[in-house]
Structure formats: C-alpha cells, structure tokens
Subunit: 210 residues, 2 copies
DNA sequence: ATGAATTTTCACTATATTTTGCAATTCCCT
DNA sequence: AGGGAATTGCAAAATATAGTGAAAATTCAT
C-alpha cells in the first residue's frame, strides 16, 4: 500500500517527525523557503531516502526536481503531530526537578504551555514557585477536567511514580512524560514517554574506553 | 555466531541495557536475589525472549531453570556498560537549565558526578550556583585534561550549541549529552546523545485526538 | 531417586525497517 | 526551446530486529 493516510504508521517513523519539524523550524528561522530531503538528511544524519519515505506516509509533500517548501512542510507536520494548537500541561512534583521543569522556557514556544504545578506534600502546597502556586494533587481531577488538560509531566520520586501515574490516569490524563527513573504501567489508551538522562549517559560510556 | 564477546552489538541492544540495569537495581532494593527474563520483561514491557537474547550477546549470565542472580547480573551489566566506576562530568551552560542539571541529585548515585559548571558569559563566570562556582569556558581544556573528564552535558542555547560542542571536542571531550533542541555534528569517535522533552511530547500528541 | 515445572540458550523463522535503483517531474542555463 | 542537473516517490531488494520452538539444565515436591 502506498502514500496517503489510513494505514498505521510505525512508531519509529512518528518518533522522527519531531526531529524533522525541529530542523525545519531552524531553516525557517534562517529565512529558507525550500529544502530537500538531502539537506535535511545531512543536518539530521539520517539518509535522504529515509526522510522521503517517512514523509510519503502522509502524502506527497514535496515536488520532484524542487524539494519541499519549508513553510508548507512545517504546516503539514504540525497537523500530523497535532501540534498546530497549544497544549496545556500539568507538572506533578514540585521538588528540584519539577520546579526546574515548570520554570523552563523552552516548552512555551513549541506548543506546550505549563498550566499548573501539583504536589502531594502539605509542606509544598500553597508555596509559590516561579509563576506557580503549588496545588494539592487531589485537586488535579477537578482542575484538569475544567481546563481540558490532557498531558502531564511526572517529576516525583521513583518510589511514588507508579501510584501518582495511576492517579493521573484516573483523573483523565491521556499522555504522561515521566522523568522518574522507573518504568510505569499505564492502560493502552494512555501514552507514556520517558526522560532519563542517565540511561543516555550509560549508552555512551559503553563506547568509551574503561 | 553465538554468545560471548568480539562481535559488534547492535546499538539498539546497548540502548536497552541501561533499562535492564535500572530495573535490576529496583529489584535489588527490594532485596530480591534472583529474577527471570519473564519478570523483567513484565516490568519493562519488553518480551522475555528479547531480554534473554540481548543478555546472551555478552555471555550466559543466567542459569537454566533458575533465572538470573540479581546481584551478579547487575555487576556484569555495569561492567559491560563501563559504569562500574564513577565518571566525572562537566556541565556547560549556567542558565536555568544548566543550573537545574548541576543541582539535580539523580546523577550521583548512578555513577556520574558533576565536577564543574562552565559558561561563556562574563556575567555568569565566578557566580556561585549551588555547589559550583561558574568557570570560564576557555578554561575547560586545562580543567578536563588535568582531571580526566571525558563527558559533558551541553545546556546552552541552540544557536551556540554547535560551536560550543566544537570547543568541547577540541578540548578532548569524548561524549556529549546535548539538551539543546538542535542536531549537532561531531566526529565519529565522539559519542552524542540528545535530550529534548518536546520531541517526546510531540510523539504523544500524534496519538491524542485533536 | 523420579517426574513435573521452570527457565535459559540457541538455531531457525518471521517481521520490520532501511536502502537501492529508477522513472517521472521540475528547474535552470544557454 | 532543448538539454542537463536536481529531486521526489515508489517498488523491489537487502538488512536488521524480534519471535518461535525445542533441547538442556535446574529446582522442588514426593
């Protein structure tokens, strides 16, 4: 089967689309109007054939002999990834990590706005951290349902991560970005992704001389 | 070819080893002495066959009928990944992100000690941030060569990431964990890994209803 | 001791992903 | 207007990754 929509796209392909988008935004920033799979490939160290094939899953975005219109391709990728709108995000865990995440400016301009910061500890609830006043975790459901929040970032200790994740799911969260260094089980219809810098470091030390 | 060392191990396999190690540490924490590929697989949502196959690349670590000794397997994986020692790490970029990274306690107990925090901006050099006094980037080479630092975390703005990475490489850094949302080119013998939470969020929004 | 239940290991098979080769299209130069 | 260079999109081939099935080893209960 070829081109267009309706067939399921491999996850590995979906995982590369944000990289394409990121590279395209930089091209756009440099006022480039068109690019090619080859140029993108060089910048991303991905083969040009790979990029063409990935993109062709969603329809013919390019023009033979010419390449891809940067702006058009950005629009299409944003639509495919559903990031042509602003998503609200809840951060859970107001320790060092959660507090750093909620103050980090890099989410805003890429389509994700941190709306609230939650914690379970009475010591922290009510405290002011950057732009946020820490809210009690048990007010999560009310808040997210009234504000339509569907994404959460989890920044609690590993010991509590599974139980907090369960609460997030119960509250109606549909996607969790977990910063705790532990695997979490969630229902199939809930998305989960992991951020653990240490696993990346360990991947690299394998290749370093002892 | 089977078992033992000498053949090259696929990167995708290396990438899973830190996850096994992480899960094993938790088992160890719970005083478990033995485990099985099946148990590990359930916790990690990876098939047991996959886990057995991955481990067998490095020799027979398990016992038929019994499973894997938790402590022994941890030791072997640490040896394979070269994390049976403490690695020193330099953080470059003393903005919000670099400062949060250098104060995060989660590296220390998993084999990575942040040794120094560098920045290029005269405003920041000399400032005290947590346990660190911000050092000038141009003192990097002297410092890392005298202290044997081979790993750096890069937390500078995307605009400067490539040029700072070039400086890191010139200074003798062999592995870079890049937090800037941009692809970096480094020589083949230098390792690079990326942390960009936004790409993970975008991967998930693909699966969320618009 | 024996047999049933586990569980690894390993060769083989199946599936998934990437690369290759090429026709078709477009642009650009003369 | 014509020819050469660039570039996509797609089918087919090649490669990489994951899963299967069965033999061998181990434990445990009787």
């Amino acid at each position: 089967m070829s081109g267009k929509s309706a067939d399921v796209i491999p996850e590995i392909v979906i995982g590369r689309l944000p990289l394409y988008l990121r590279a395209l935004r930089r091209l756009q920033n440099d006022r480039r109007r068109v690019t090619s799979s080859q140029e993108l490939g060089e910048r991303l160290e991905i083969s040009s054939a790979q990029i063409r094939k990935d993109l062709s899953h969603f329809g013919g975005f390019g023009k033979q002999g010419t390449g891809y219109q940067v702006e058009f391709l950005i629009e299409r990728l944003e639509a495919v990834l559903h990031v042509n709108k602003e998503w609200l995000v809840a951060v859970v865990g107001a320790g060092n990590l959660g507090s750093a995440i909620s103050q980090y400016r890099g989410f805003q301009d890429r389509g994700f706005r941190i709306a609230h910061l939650f914690d379970i500890s009475p010591n922290k609830i009510g405290a002011r951290l950057g732009d946020f006043v820490v809210r009690p975790l048990d007010s999560l459901e009310t808040t997210i349902r009234s504000e339509g929040i569907r994404i959460a970032m989890l920044a609690v200790p590993a010991e509590n991560a599974q139980s907090v994740a369960d609460q997030l799911v119960a509250a109606g969260i549909k996607a969790i970005l977990n910063y705790a260094p532990i695997n979490i089980n969630v229902p199939d219809q809930v998305q989960i992704q992991y951020i653990d810098p240490v696993t990346h470091l360990q991947r690299m030390t394998y290749y370093l001389d002892d």
